[in-house]
Symmetry: D2
Subunit: 255 residues, 4 copies
């Protein structure tokens, strides 16, 4: 009985953004897909969509991005009975959850700070722990990897700005985590990588408040499917040439 590769993603929003696009793409590439998010409806809808398209996906809702909940979901995933035959091997984990807050500093509340740090950093530690522990059980595959851990970063990961104190604190922290992990676990053939998304992504949400010129011009905004392709590329890098960090922005972005 064969072993099927498993892709885990946390953070799929309403199913129109990066996490969902990555889930669809990895499903097409033959991965089982475990979806983690707070919104069970979104999870079920996306899982259903992937399954209808011939993929194999399951949703794992969590109450919140606490450390404990985020870590324990890996146990749920490990215990899941997939409809197709064969065991699973967790090979790719994408931390795409996040919590943005854009406010002048004096408007930032204690809750804003704690939410940003919990979701952007603490939960990412738990997610990383779950992923790394699973990867360590894998054999090294033909590309020289036990697994790939992907982090979705942002401009705020490398630049603090006037309304981003709480958000940037979280995203800087996540970037630090990713670099530490990349250095520590590269030696064990675990690939850790961080993508700086530098621009707005076309999603249901951004479409609701952006103008037509932006929505309709692919030079101006990121396409979640294109980000997903970058993640696939990173996963497919062989052991001799791994990327820790790359930036992604639309062709016409001013930066």
């Amino acid at each position: 009985m064969s072993t099927r590769p498993l892709f885990v993603v946390a953070g799929i929003g309403n199913g129109s953004g990066t996490g969902a696009a990555a889930a669809r793409l990895f499903a097409q590439k033959g991965y089982r897909v475990a979806l983690i998010a707070r919104n069970a409806d979104s999870l079920n809808r996306l899982a259903g969509e992937i399954n209808s398209a011939g993929g194999e996906a399951a949703g794992f809702p969590i109450s919140d991005y606490s450390y404990g909940a985020t870590l324990s979901v890996f146990d749920n995933i490990a215990a899941h009975k997939w409809s197709s035959a064969g065991s699973s091997s967790l090979r790719v984990a994408l931390w795409n959850a996040g919590s943005g807050v854009w406010k002048p500093f004096l408007d930032v509340t204690e809750k804003d700070i704690k939410t940003s740090l919990q979701t952007n950093v603490t939960a990412a530690f738990a997610f990383s722990r779950g992923a790394v522990l699973a990867f360590k059980q894998n054999d090294i595959d033909e590309r020289g990897k036990r697994g790939t851990l992907l982090f979705t970063g942002a401009t705020a990961a490398i630049r603090g700005n006037v309304t981003t104190s709480a958000f940037a604190a979280g995203k800087f922290g996540l970037r630090a985590l990713s670099q530490s992990l990349a250095k520590e676990f590269g030696k064990e053939n675990i690939h850790v990588t961080h993508a700086i998304i530098d621009g707005g992504i076309l999603t249901d949400r951004s479409s609701s408040y952006r103008d037509e010129a932006w929505i309709n011009n692919p030079d101006l905004r990121l396409d979640a499917n294109s980000i997903a392709k970058s993640y696939l590329y990173l996963v497919e890098q062989d052991r001799s040439a791994w990327t820790w960090e790359l930036d992604l922005r639309p062709a016409h972005e001013k930066w």
Copy 2:
């Protein structure tokens, strides 16, 4: 009745490190000094030492670096009756508190992460809020400032490494905060600055486990008094040439 400048520092350890050295130096320069730390004995000892030397210092112990405790200490400082005559104007605030953890990633506990984020980031937000709110009440002084907010950073603020995931996440986050504040409040003549301390500091603690060669060679380790002088220099920069960030390391440090 004149107004005296006030210097607030959080994080003085056992009185032999950067926070204490800065307290002594600013006291010598005529600042009233408010000391914040968890260890009341250290606070009282340092306050006594400064007062004996002709300065004016008071200790403000806090139970822990929670957001609330860190913020409310500013009320205590504002309400304090100083022995000399005249009101106080908070002009310099130094965030020197921190929480270091050096462990392989899989040994890092949920508590390690939360402690690092709370002390290195959340409490720094509270401290910044207290300082900025006080600074905004000040007139612009002859150097073009309402106040200076100093942050003690570390190598781990700019580089994650194999045993620093939790520490670097906190210190990266603090750096993000400092940059956001510098950009937002420079326009209001509030100077925010971040020092990257890139090396070991000679303190009672480091002396206890380092060898004589290191202890006795000023080319190998940072002197807390020298860091304090850098902080004084940053405070004295006039409005036309402010530094957000500088690094500080011993002459012979390998980097």
Copy 3:
């Protein structure tokens, strides 16, 4: 009569490194390949190899990486009569030429500095000019590009070190050029990208002085073919998600 895409690469050494690997890969992908280097023998050998394998390549030797020689080779390429039918459209240009010098500073000669700056920077300006002028004549393709300009960078592009003053000055300069171009020409749908090669590449030359352990362990050294695949990926990024910079290093590299 159809138009065929053209790939131009400068810097192919003796045919066992990054430039040659990229030439082979783009030839396989259907690009005509124009090879630029100082060593005519290497050029002819590599062109012959590619042509024998069913590709279409031609060598364009230059006397040195002077500004004039580097720029004028684009005229030679434009005038070249390819054996197959159809005109060419320059779509990808890879600047892989470079000049490394590793010496203590006081051993660095005026000639070392000038050679590093001429090859690593001045010639790269000329190459960029040739490429950008050609790209501007192209239509925007189905990926949203007029062309992709790739630069091979190095660790020395982001960090000066004790024996790299002259080399790092050149590689920092090249990185500055690449960022300036990326910002200026992104708006015209020209994609400019910079790869930081952070480790040793397995080539005929490195094999001659490295030990067997290094040569035979794909976790320890970069494979030129893997770098080439990264370049192909960058070329294939669509307009909504372009990378300016990524790093590439072996899985076990210490960094």
Copy 4:
């Protein structure tokens, strides 16, 4: 007969900018001052001004910032007969010369590139060589230094932009040099430091094309005297806490 400290500066423009301000300040602090620039009239005027004010300065005009001319001026300085008694010990060297070019990339000429690289990089190598060789002959002073080598950097040292390809290539290169030197010569108690000047400086030239609001508002532009004070601070740092890099910008600068 005592030894007097000597300050050497290259790049004084018309005497109203950073180089001249530093010359005045170090003269006031008791340094002999050697002025290097291409404009003999400016040199003589500034030397005369410093001498009239009780300092001791001499001008060393050079024909251009070629490698040879820049290096050989150190011989001229060493051979100079100062009016006061006592030998000189070169203790501080400031590389403030530079060559700015702001043009769209396709307007940048071969000459622009070569001028930028020669002045911003090649000549800086020669200047560094002259300074380091002189510093190595010095005893370690009471601050733990044989000498301090200062570089004036710019925003363009850390960020390429749409009109700065040639300028940024030069300034990135200079920054690389400064970091390499800092790492190599720190071990010999030679302090190398780099200042990122991030904003416009009030000079005769900038006053001629800027509006009154900018000229008269010290929150908006850098004062050359304030930069000079920063340089003095860097020189006065003791061996336990050296800065390689700091940024300097006006309080209200947007960045």
